[in-house]
């Protein structure tokens, strides 16, 4: 048990990721307002990206821009660039899907006059 808590203290970013991820799902499941649900979805997306970027960190490393282009490069001086590249794409695509879902929410409001899930279901009948 103590070993496990000590392990958590060595990985604080992972604990934060777990909290944010579960919080995002919880909001999506329990809230009835569509915009609130999308806020939960955004929290979930960013928490996963946060976890991926965390894997790129190295103790005492600097940003992945080469300090000198003539000397031999020591990889442990720079942070790992690959998770950065992959998450750049993920952020932009995530915001694109968020835009589409917000447009959907807007269209639903125009048709049914409410953002509340149960109200919409009532008016559908």
């Amino acid at each position: 048990m103590f070993e496990m808590i000590g392990g958590w203290l060595q990985r604080p970013n992972y604990i934060a990721f777990v909290l944010l991820f579960l919080w995002g799902i919880y909001i999506m499941v329990t809230r009835y307002n569509l915009v609130k649900k999308l806020i939960g979805m955004y929290l979930m997306q960013t928490s996963v990206i946060f976890f991926l970027v965390t894997t790129s960190a190295k103790q005492g490393a600097t940003v992945p821009i080469l300090l000198s282009t003539t000397e031999i490069i020591q990889p442990e001086v720079y942070a790992n660039p690959l998770p950065h590249v992959l998450t750049l794409t993920a952020i932009v695509v995530g915001v694109a899907t968020l835009g589409v879902s917000l447009a959907l929410a807007d269209a639903i409001y125009k048709k049914y006059g409410s953002l509340d899930e149960e109200e919409i279901l009532k008016r559908l009948e």
Binding site: I15, W23, N33, L43, G99, S114
Partner: protein
């Protein structure tokens, strides 16, 4: 010292995320707090050495996403109309803590935070760091991977964004026009 800074930043993140969804009832304030959450996230990433990701999050996440939320709220209802919520479903109360315990149980199999010898940091990324300048003549390794090694990926990503733009335009079109 660095550990304390990290903990403080993470606490800021979790607190803003919680207050964006839990403390305020007005959706407008929620969205603004979510924007500040994005900015804190960008701060954490800059601190981890991911400056390019931090730029993108500050511009796209905190800027564009907040603007999209605000435009939607100006068109629709800015308040959460529900005054009393029914109790949360069983899946939320039982399933999510179980998932959390599972995730936390797996924590010790990951390499510690900031470990330079973790598998993710030693497998292929040193090759990119050492050879990208010879291949692409760009000192910024993230740029060279994004634009040269994975150029097609970035190209197709613009197709995804274009499709999303078309979908938004079609959804927001007035029915009569």
């Amino acid at each position: 010292m660095t550990y304390a800074v990290n903990i403080a930043l993470l606490l800021l993140l979790v607190l803003t995320a919680a207050s964006a969804t839990f403390l305020v009832r007005e959706l407008m304030s929620s969205v603004f707090i979510l924007g500040s959450y994005s900015f804190f996230l960008a701060l954490v990433w800059a601190w981890l050495g991911a400056v390019d990701v931090a730029f993108v999050e500050a511009v796209i996440g905190a800027g564009l996403a907040t603007v999209l939320f605000l435009i939607t709220l100006f068109d629709t209802a800015p308040k959460d109309s529900r005054l009393r919520r029914p109790p949360p479903p069983l899946a939320g109360v039982v399933g999510l803590p179980l998932l959390g315990i599972l995730l936390l149980f797996a924590a010790n199999d990951l390499s510690p935070f900031g470990d330079p010898t973790s598998p993710a940091n030693v497998h292929i990324s040193p090759v990119y760091l050492q050879q990208s300048y010879a291949d692409t003549l760009t000192p910024n390794v993230v740029t060279s991977v994004l634009m040269d090694y994975r150029g097609f990926d970035t190209l197709i990503e613009t197709v995804v964004i274009f499709t999303a733009g078309i979908a938004c335009a079609l959804l927001l079109k007035e029915p009569g026009s």
